[in-house]
Amino acid sequence: MLDVKNLHTEYYQGGRVAHAARGVSIHVPQGQAVALVGESGSGKSTVAQSVMRMIRPPVGNLREGIVSVNGIDVRLCTDRQMRQVLRNEIGFIPQDPTTALDPLYTIRSQIKEVLPEEDKRNADQVITELLESLGIVNAADRLGDYPHEFSGGMKQRVAIAIALAKRPSVLIADEPTTALDVTTQVGILRLLDRLRRERNLATLFITHNIRVARLLCQHVVVMYGGIVVESGPIEQVMAAPSHPYTRALLDASVLGDRPRQKLRAIPGNPPSLFAMPQGCPFSPRCANATDQCHEGLPSEVATEQGTRYTCWNPVAS
């Protein structure tokens, strides 16, 4: 189980402080998948990095909040304890397996590094079974191969094997399909969905595409400018978005279902982390924005459908 409460994460750069996450809360129960959706710079990857404690001084810091992985608050862990958490609890799937796998090591040795002690005795067998369950054929013959000898999709399966070999309870996937061919993407998404069910994984799925998220997630958390703007069951949020940003995101990701339909982009650019607007971060781009929006953030509002949003002027839907 992954439980993030009121997380504040900062980056330091040249004496300036960037507030990449401002009071983010996410709850991922065992066996469920939560999508963390947002544009580049929204802070979604920061949350993932924070959970794994990859952000530490002098680069940045987890200033405030609780990040609980199966009841362990990673913010309070020593380096040694944190390695134990990473080793036993969290499986991480990188965005681009080509840059994430070590080119100089065979896949056997890269997977073996994370095997629990009891699996190390018959490591080859365990690894082969794992790889074959992930759809790599003739895995036994390929253990001695190097990453560059695999295709993109196969490399991602190797990376998934590394994430799963530790038998984690939490799985974090950081845009795991963006670096892959479209045809391979679907295969990886199906695989992740199956693994969540079979292994009862608490899955945090980071993506910029809310429609992709729908394929395997039950809940969604939409981030913008370091805050959670809307969250809730994915079907409800997609059917009736309350926050103008969620609305815009859905509109922008519509694949034209009619010919010559105009693609709808969101005007403007996401705010810089160093120059966050005083009020709602989306206010400079928001069609509904009023003076109130520019001045301060509202508190979270719960709807009857079970979704929650942070907005002064929610869209009527």
């Binding site: 794994m52 990473l86 036993n88 990188p94 796998l101 070590d102 080119p103 100089l104 590094e113 000898e149």
Partner: protein, 327 residues
């Protein structure tokens, strides 16, 4: 791998042949060696006799062919100033030079990698600043000036090490340090920047996300950083072999460098030719070793992916590294 090594070896031989040919013809074109060897008041008959004795009266291609045949059997011709076979001078000289160059190289490599890696793992700490300062100084002080300072301090004032020659076991200390300083600084700089870059790569982050022990992480980072460092180390070793000329001169070290200067002053072309050829041979052998080492270290070179249609092998011996570090 075998084919790769074979190709490399063949390329080395071709390069050597090319150098030998160029040096031979340049030397022959630069003038008649006979006048230098005969007594100043020699008669035309005496000059002719010397010419016949040296075989310089024959067509140049015949001389060239003879020279090549000699090379294959290890005969580099006769030194005109020492009046002995060139190989009798160059072989012991090269042994002394190799000893100095290799000691300096080991010193530079071990200390350079250690200092560079330490600076990268402790970036922006006093350790890092110290290493960077020493590296910039090491790249800026000419070896002969450093050698003079070292002699003044450690030899003349403190009396710890001899100032010249190779009579005692500690004789090599000062020349080796003077010679190594530049290579040491370059290797430290490249190691630092490579490790630093490696630390911020996705690959390292992914490795950290595995929760492995710090030692494992360090091994991964260092192994990945070793590729450009190996290339630079090979180039630096070659530079050390020729850089000994200056140091041998300063420390009266009996290597080929000293021999080269004497040969130039005596216009002893046979000797110069011999020195250049032996040096080139050493240099090509070093590049070959670096190439093979590279193949051993990097599976992408050793086992190029079969599916990628055209096999992409590096066409050059010099791998992509920061070129500035090699000067």
């Amino acid at each position: 791998m075998l084919r790769y090594t074979g190709t490399r070896f063949l390329q080395g031989l071709i390069a050597l042949f090319f150098i030998v040919t160029v040096v031979f013809f340049l030397a022959r074109m630069s003038g008649d060696a006979t006048a230098l060897l005969a007594p100043p008041d020699a008669t035309p008959e005496q000059l002719d006799a010397v010419r016949v004795e040296l075989g310089l009266d024959r067509p140049i291609l015949v001389q060239y062919w003879d020279y090549l045949q000699g090379l294959v059997t290890g005969d580099l011709g006769r030194s005109t100033s020492y009046r002995v076979p060139v190989s009798d001078l160059v072989v012991p000289g090269m042994q002394a030079t190799a000893k100095l160059a290799l000691v300096a190289f080991l010193f530079a490599l071990v200390l350079g990698v250690a200092a560079g890696a330490l600076a990268a793992f402790r970036s922006n700490t006093p350790t890092d600043y110290g290493v960077r300062l020493m590296a910039v100084l090491g790249q800026s002080i000419p070896s002969f000036w450093l050698g003079m300072i070292l002699v003044a301090v450690f030899s003349v004032s403190l009396g710890w090490f001899p100032a010249f020659g190779d009579a005692t076991a500690t004789s090599i200390v000062l020349p080796a340090i003077s010679l190594a300083a530049f290579a040491l600084a370059s290797i430290a700089r490249l190691t630092r920047s490579t490790v630093l870059e490696m630390l911020s790569k996705d690959q390292t982050l992914f490795e950290r996300s595995k929760g492995v022990a710090p030692a494992t992480l360090v091994v991964h980072v260092l192994r990945n950083s070793s590729l450009p460092v190996v290339t630079l180390a090979g180039i630096q070793l070659g530079a050390l072999f020729s850089g000994t000329i200056v140091i041998e001169n300063l420390f009266a070290w009996p290597g080929v460098g000293q021999l080269a200067i004497q040969a130039i002053n005596a216009k002893d072309f046979a000797l110069i030719q011999g020195i250049v050829i032996v040096n080139t041979l050493v240099f090509i052998a070093l590049l070959f070793i670096v190439d093979v080492l590279y193949g051993l270290l990097d599976p992408r070179v050793r086992r190029p992916a079969a599916s990628r249609g055209k096999k992409k092998r590096p066409t050059t011996t010099v791998q992509p590294i920061d070129v500035m570090e090699t000067v």
